[in-house]
């Protein structure tokens, strides 16, 4: 048995529970749209359900929860710099919107 197999053998029940949980969370995000929730409540719920689903997939299905900290750091920390890109592009998009408003809609 190789090294990885010793580390990543887990009881089936944990996968089945996470599977069920992902179904429930997906149904919840669909319900957000189905019941026409709007505004802050809608956006908050979408983000919360999304992050929960992503977290369970990475942690359990992709086995990240059982990996060593060195690998967790190497894979999970670099995407944080994408938050800078997202922030910049949100500001830039708002600026473009305002510029278009003043230039074209007078």
């Amino acid at each position: 048995m190789s090294q990885a197999e010793g580390q990543q053998q887990h009881p089936l029940t944990i996968y089945l529970w996470i599977w069920l949980l992902l179904f429930v969370l997906s149904a919840c995000s669909y319900a957000v749209d189905y019941f026409h929730l709007q505004g802050m409540l809608r956006w908050t719920l979408i983000i919360v359900f999304m992050l929960l689903k992503a977290g369970f997939i990475v942690a359990i299905f992709m086995h990240m929860a059982w990996e060593r900290l060195a690998l967790k750091f190497a894979i999970l920390l670099p995407p944080l710099c994408l938050l800078v890109l997202i922030g910049f592009m949100a500001i830039e998009g708002d600026y473009t919107f305002i510029t278009r408003g003043t230039a074209f809609l007078r």
């Binding site: 979408i46 060593r68 690998l71 890109l85």
Partner: protein, 224 residues
């Protein structure tokens, strides 16, 4: 320490080679798994760039954004059900993630038959997903959605839609082929001869990532 002292005495370029080839292992996992994770990390950056680009055009457009809830509604049983096709696609993909997780588990238990069946089920669900996506694309193109315009509002809707879902669909298609090759190898006893089933886990990482990307697309493109 002996290695460092030897490397220090080498000419610069050979020193670089000696340093990078130093006899040390950073990640205590099989190399295939480390490389797959690094590939998925780079793919994360690609998909984030797409979604950020989509956010940028949606924030900056003066026209109103088409309502995805209505655009992706289907007329079933005498009424319009909002977003129903996308919801079914989401459940299909999550189901395939579940069968994949079980396939990895049965692989490590050396249960060849169950692993093959579960891998083929995962591939079949993936192919179903791509088929439904082809149906969705056809429906939208028939309704007049183009990368440069559509009947309902902001023209950027089409380009963002085709770019993001198209790239994701390509990933799913590649994943289906990848899974079928892995299933064939499990069936032929290739991994028994190799002495390890970790390659099935690496294929699983890719498949779960495809599901992971869909979670973000579903939230930001279809629900927002």
């Amino acid at each position: 320490m002996a290695h460092d002292a030897q490397a220090a005495a080498l000419p610069p370029l050979k020193q670089v080679v000696a340093d990078y080839a130093g006899d040390k292992q950073a990640f205590q996992v099989p190399w295939g798994k480390a490389m797959m994770w690094i590939f998925l990390l780079s793919d994360t950056f690609i998909f984030t760039c797409f979604l950020t680009g989509y956010m940028n055009v949606r924030v900056s457009t003066m026209a109103s954004w088409p309502n995805p809830s209505q655009v992706f509604a289907l007329h079933l049983f005498g009424q319009d059900i909002p977003l129903i096709l996308i919801a079914i696609m989401t459940f299909v993909l999550i189901t395939s993630s579940g069968t994949m997780a079980l396939a990895v588990n049965y692989g490590y238990r050396r249960d060849r038959q169950k692993t093959v069946v579960l891998l083929c089920a995962t591939a079949a669900l993936g192919a179903t997903f791509v088929g439904m996506q082809a149906f969705e694309w056809t429906k939208l193109i028939m309704e007049g959605v183009r990368p440069w315009g559509n009947p309902w509002g902001a023209p950027q809707f089409g380009s963002a839609f085709f770019m993001i879902t198209g790239f994701h669909g390509c990933h799913v298609t590649a994943g289906v082929i990848y899974l079928l090759i892995t299933a064939k190898r499990v069936g032929s006893g290739f991994y028994d001869r190799k002495g390890t089933y970790e390659t099935v886990e690496v294929a699983g990482l890719y498949w779960h990532f495809v599901d992971l990307v869909w979670v973000f697309i579903f939230a930001f493109f279809y629900l927002w």
